[in-house]
Symmetry: none
């Protein structure tokens, strides 16, 4: 990986790129790393500063975790997305811990948190970009929170299944009930029970292979 | 209310005040209003842009609401606090609706959202201030979310307090936070923070003598 390749990508992704000095641009590239996280590995672990992460390919999942290891997905990052919450040394007002896992083999460019913080301290446009990236995720998180707190389980599960079906472009979802429960902030038993209910209604078919969606329309109606 | 009085308060509250031009300062003061919200009134209603609100006295409650009218308190604003989430035209990346009520008679200075947005567009330091104010609330909201989602700590603590109150036939509990934490299987810091939250909610009063239950009914409701 050469510094020129980083610069090419950064020029596309960072609205501030042409506003900062040549030496600041070089500094960011010199402090960039090309890392590939195999599926299932931990990318960011709570309170450390893992830097600013750009997803080049694959998929990262950002979540929060309870003391007893229960987790809730806040959002996913795909190609072209930037993770700023993993750079706690850049955003000092972020005081909560998030975790990031690779859901698929994921190639990422990672900019050292301290290097990014240094550039952000002397370039208001960089600081504004970092803050705006974080604030826009605030809205995503609030949406998840409202889903979990206010919506009934059948609706939440129906939304998850229809979303997941489009995401993977298949009508068969191979996640375990446990995994689904963690995605939608519920318990395995609740998910299993609700899936059984959906199966009885003819909405899905449950087998060892996974959950097959039989009635998209019906699920979408529930998800409204 | 004269423009000079606004300027005096803004000089104290806004770190950017001395960095913007005299005419921008005058523009903000000309677009400021001195409003008193009687206890119980709605200050901000979801999707409108109510402007940037500075609390001079009293107390505002910021919350989210479900379709069926259930609400969850995210945080409260007291003297000297600034509400930025009510200025959706300033922070375009905030796409969720919050509601703000006056919990007491509250005197507020309100800066027109469009005026603040105009100044923020030409002064990076103003924009950074607005974003940082929003991001710091992100952390508060995540804390509330984690309490609610994972620990049901509020529930566990409410159950413990109501049980203990009946056990000792007194409305004042003299256990230390450490002791309570060990009873309910949590950490002292978590208990202290949650008790502070309960105190803000008017459920308990914390003093050197112990924890006095002010609102039995409210605690019992939490314990359900």
């Amino acid at each position: 990986m050469t510094q020129t390749s980083f610069a090419q990508v950064y020029k596309e992704l960072f609205p501030f790129w042409d506003e900062i000095s040549e030496s600041d641009r070089e500094f960011l590239c010199r402090n960039s790393f090309d890392l590939t996280y195999p599926k299932g590995t931990t990318v960011h672990n709570g309170n450390e500063c893992s830097g600013v992460i750009l997803v080049c390919s694959g998929s990262l999942r950002l979540y929060i975790m309870s003391e007893d290891g229960k987790d809730i997905t806040l959002y996913r990052l795909h190609k072209g997305d930037i993770c700023m919450l993993s750079a706690s040394c850049v955003l000092q007002s972020i005081t909560f811990d998030v975790f990031v896992d690779a859901e698929e083999d994921s190639e990422c460019y990672v900019i050292s948190g301290s290097a990014f913080a240094e550039i952000s301290a002397r370039n208001p446009s960089v600081k504004i970009f970092a803050l705006e990236t974080a604030v826009s995720r605030f809205s995503d998180v609030m949406w998840v929170m409202q889903q979990i707190l206010f919506m009934s389980m059948d609706k939440r599960l129906a939304i998850f299944l229809t979303d997941e079906m489009s995401r993977i472009s298949s009508d068969t979802i191979t996640l375990t009930h446990e995994q689904i429960a963690s995605y939608i902030g519920s318990a395995r038993e609740v998910v299993s029970r609700m899936l059984k209910y959906f199966a009885n209604e003819g909405l899905v078919e449950i087998s060892r292979k996974g959950i097959k969606i039989l009635d998209k329309k019906g699920l979408r109606k529930l998800a409204l």
